[in-house]
Symmetry: C2
Subunit: 201 residues, 2 copies
Amino acid sequence: MNPTPPNSPLVNFMKAMHPLGNKPLIYLHEHASRKSVGRGKYLLKPGEFCMHYYYIHKGLLRAFIKEEKKEITTWLNPENEITTSIRSMVRRQPSMEYIQALEDSELYALHFDDMEKMYSLFPEMNVLARKLLVEYYADSEERSYISRIPSAQKRYRHFIASRPELVNRIPLKYVASYLGITLETLSRLRGKKKSIKLGGA
Amino acid sequence: MNPTPPNSPLVNFMKAMHPLGNKPLIYLHEHASRKSVGRGKYLLKPGEFCMHYYYIHKGLLRAFIKEEKKEITTWLNPENEITTSIRSMVRRQPSMEYIQALEDSELYALHFDDMEKMYSLFPEMNVLARKLLVEYYADSEERSYISRIPSAQKRYRHFIASRPELVNRIPLKYVASYLGITLETLSRLRGKKKSIKLGGA
């Protein structure tokens, strides 16, 4: 008799990425733990080893690095994404980055060792990981490219075109630190955009 | 009777990433084609679809995007790396970037469709791809972070610490466009470094 397939937001996310049999889904369901993180709280700090993959069920996380007291926001991830500090994870090094919740967030955490075990127990997990990683790699290249655009205005335009769902959700200071511009410049750019819109209406 | 395992730089690179049986190695060997690209020549231009993965056997490639007549170098890859225009490949979109040989280069090209076929014919190729992708994803995050460091001097220091083999190999104008600084600033930074070294000797 086949056991009932488990049902959770994490399981559904994984199934949507790649069809998985009951066994890996049950393993996933049994080894992932729920985690709530309050707004402003940290999941990871520099010097710590990142040992978990986090599936964001609700909320929003950001990563940042402190560089001479300045914060450089390296990514912003809302619900329905899997995230981690990939460099700390892959290279087994202490993290350089903070991961912080920008909203009250509900996560599913899966330990690195459990994921590695899944790769050997269930070969189809490698297919799923490949599909996820290639998407995240392409996103990372996109972020890397955006951050190199010399004009602040173009960087901001690129941001609102590629992440429209985040524009009015994230406090401006974090958008500014993601785009590598000052809050003043960002406010000026937003003011300009608004007046262009009004002028064109 | 087992056929003789094929032997080529590409095959050896793949085997070193993850142990593969003879069948996938033979498939790889038969479907990859050799390609020479002269120094300064292009493998890909904006508007074209990137349909190949390239293993760099000899030489050095760079990718760049033209932004208002300015070149933004997005990556620099020497021999013994696999490379492609990942965003064009994954999203099946025309490329935004150029891929150019900075040295006479010898490559092995594998078509996207052949790679997809390998994923379904040989499940272990998914393990190999996962291992490669997680490394390249971590590298991409690294590039993305470096490009956001506000101080040009720190960006340059980070570059020579993380890519020492490239420092004296790549014409300075490309290093400058990779670090997002002018050639003049780069020369000044290099001059400073040299005099610190001499002073300390």
